[in-house]
């Protein structure tokens, strides 16, 4: 199956910006094993592209409400998901498709160590 056909399949798998389970099931039944693998991968990639995952050390309804407008402005037309990650010390991580932005205490400490190492040389 050619790349543009796969893109068409992905496009028809969504209705009103939401994954249509019935269509996906129909497509999955018709595809060969090799193409099915590609289809699943392409769906996952598309999902990653349309969602932004915000990882926080702790999540509260108040915090989500407070930042909702700002995040919608930064990531327009993207679905925003919140994830709890206690390892993130005083920080936040945004994951969008294959790009990750991280601002945390741990990251700052690592950068200071790397900076000191560079100037030591």
């Amino acid at each position: 199956m050619k790349q543009h056909m796969m893109k068409q399949l992905i496009a028809i798998s969504y209705k009103n910006n939401k994954l249509d389970e019935k269509v996906v099931f129909k497509i999955a039944c018709l595809l060969l094993r090799k193409d099915l693998k590609r289809y699943v991968r392409a769906l996952k990639n598309y999902e990653k592209k349309r969602t932004v995952t915000v990882s926080l050390p702790s999540i509260s309804r108040e915090l989500i409400h407070k930042n909702e407008y700002l995040l919608k402005k930064i990531f327009p037309k993207k679905e925003i998901l919140y994830k709890k990650d206690p390892l993130l010390m005083a920080g936040v991580r945004f994951s969008h498709h294959d790009t990750i932005f991280e601002m945390s205490l741990r990251n700052t400490l690592e950068q200071i160590a790397a900076h000191a190492g560079e100037t030591d040389r």
Binding site: N45, F101, N107, H115
Partner: protein
């Protein structure tokens, strides 16, 4: 003495210059691994030649950018690498952290020591891939690299900044010429800078590399030599990167104003490694299944050999080696490299089998730019001798058919035989330039015409000893780099006559 206040002030200064900008990562997922070439999706911001790191701690270099995927060559073991593993970009291009501590060490193309000695502390990151210096930064070759091999120094001279190919079948002494040249660099000539040597072993047996390292150690050549090894058991990616790593190290020393000699042993195996990678990367195959850019693979490497014109700046002299099959120099890779380099030293199996070692075929060998780097003394004796040798080869071909020859032809044939005899030289026995000039002068002026052919080697050996013990001043004059003057010629004449009396007596 450093006080506590100084340390605090320094730390404060460092912290002030620190910029906390957050961390941006570009990630991908491993899709498949085909013979050390990883296909990954994601990594939309990755650059060609960028280093990426895998979840298992391994690293790789990006070699192909496709529409939805990237192809990465692994720099390490494939163990524990699974489909679905995360890959991260680093934002760094492949480089090697070089310092003076590399001298005398045996390393892999990533700069990790292979000699069991402690880790090497780097000083400067040198990129493996780099654009060669431009026309404005270069100057013509004008300083010789003395190989210590009579046939080369006299007839195919090499200059600093030159690229001279060593080509021939297997087992004819290509590596021997390169190693002899490295050994000869331990003698630092007056008025010339030292030469740092880098030997890059590509796809060779470990036992061969070990032998070379031991020989260099024995000959006290290791302190100024660096050995970069990607042996036959290393992945193709290492063999592909090895010459570029060697060149990056050479550039580090060149930037410090040093003269560097780099030996690529050999570029045939380098082309094989690149062919393997290209086929796995599914790049279109061309002639002999090599990819279309196999010429560029070698041209961009050898273009980095240079003589810089800036005051105090150095040079890189490259001695690439190519192995031919049954003496066929018109094959794909040999013709490519011949056209890139500034000349070639062609070794022939027939000469080797007839006992002429080094088995250099003077007719097919050439140095396009080295002549201007040859010293005055050598020039004045070598020009005449080369002409005589060419005449001998022509006459020898005709003499095979004729039975009766005139006296002059016979004299030329006999002198030609003696000239060839003096070019025979044992391995690991480089000869000083002054002694080379002395013996070439002797044969060119007909002083060996009355010495039987089988006595020539003994004559040369004893004559060299005689000059070293009784005519030190004459040797100094011969090695001074100036043209041979009439008084020097007269002293030579007298020295040869005196020695011949001793020799015959």
């Amino acid at each position: 003495m450093i006080t506590t206040e100084d340390i605090i002030a320094k730390l404060e200064k460092r912290i002030h210059s620190f910029n906390d900008s957050g961390k941006k990562l570009n990630v991908g997922t491993v899709m498949k691994n085909t013979d050390g070439v990883i296909t990954a999706d994601g990594l939309s911001d990755v650059a060609m030649g960028e280093i990426v790191t895998f979840e298992n701690g391994n690293s790789g270099v990006v070699l192909n950018l496709d529409e939805d995927t990237v192809s990465i060559i692994l720099l390490g073991s494939q163990e524990n690498l699974k489909e679905g593993n995360r890959v991260e970009t680093t934002g760094k291009l492949l480089s090697i952290n070089v310092s003076n501590e590399y001298l005398g060490r045996t390393i892999n193309p990533l700069g990790n020591p292979l000699d069991g000695k402690p880790d090497i502390k780097g000083e400067k990151d040198m990129p493996l891939e780099r654009i060669a210096p431009g026309v404005v930064e270069r100057e013509p070759v004008n300083t010789p690299v003395k190989t210590g091999i009579k046939a080369i120094d006299a007839m195919i001279p090499i200059g600093r900044g030159q690229r001279e190919l060593i080509i021939g079948d297997r087992g004819l002494g290509k590596t021997a010429i390169a190693i002899d040249t490295i050994i000869n660099q331990r003698i630092q000539e007056k008025g010339h800078k030292r030469v740092i040597c880098i030997y890059v072993a590509i796809g060779q047996k470990r036992s061969t590399v070990a032998q070379i390292v031991n020989k260099l150690k024995e000959e006290k050549a290791l302190p100024y030599t660096i050995i970069v090894v990607a042996d036959a058991s290393d992945p193709a990616s290492f063999q592909y990167l090895a010459p570029y790593a060697g060149c990056a190290i050479a550039e580090y020393f060149m930037e410090k104003g040093e003269d560097v000699l780099i030996v690529y042993d050999d570029l045939t195996k380098h082309a094989w490694a690149y062919r393997q990678l290209s086929l796995v990367l599914r790049r279109p195959a061309g002639r002999e299944a090599y990819p279309g850019d196999v010429f560029y693979l070698h041209s961009r490497l050898l273009e980095r050999a240079v003589k810089l014109n800036k005051e105090g700046h150095g040079s890189i002299t490259a001695l690439p080696i190519i192995e031919t099959q049954a003496g066929d120099i018109s094959a794909y890779i040999p013709t490519n490299v011949i056209s890139i380099t500034d000349g070639q030293i062609f070794l022939e199996a027939d000469l080797f089998n007839s006992g002429i070692r080094p088995a250099i075929n003077v007719g097919n060998s050439v140095s396009r730019v080295g002549g201007s780097a040859q010293t005055g003394g050598m020039k004045s004796v070598a020009g005449k001798m080369r002409l005589e040798l060419a005449q001998y080869q022509e006459l020898a071909a005709f003499a095979q058919f004729g039975s009766e020859l005139d006296k002059e032809t016979l004299t030329r044939l006999e002198r030609g035989k003696r000239t060839i005899e003096i070019f025979k030289q044992a391995q690991y026995h480089p000869v000083a330039e002054s002694l080379q000039i002395a013996i070439i002068w002797t044969v060119s002026n007909g002083h060996l015409d009355d010495i039987p052919l089988e006595e020539i080697q003994r004559f040369e050996e004893e004559f060299s000893q005689y000059l070293q013990t009784r005519h030190k001043k004459l040797l100094e004059d011969l090695g001074s780099g100036t043209k041979l003057t009439e008084p020097i010629n007269q002293t030579m004449e007298k020295a040869v006559k005196d020695f011949k009396q001793l020799f015959h007596g």
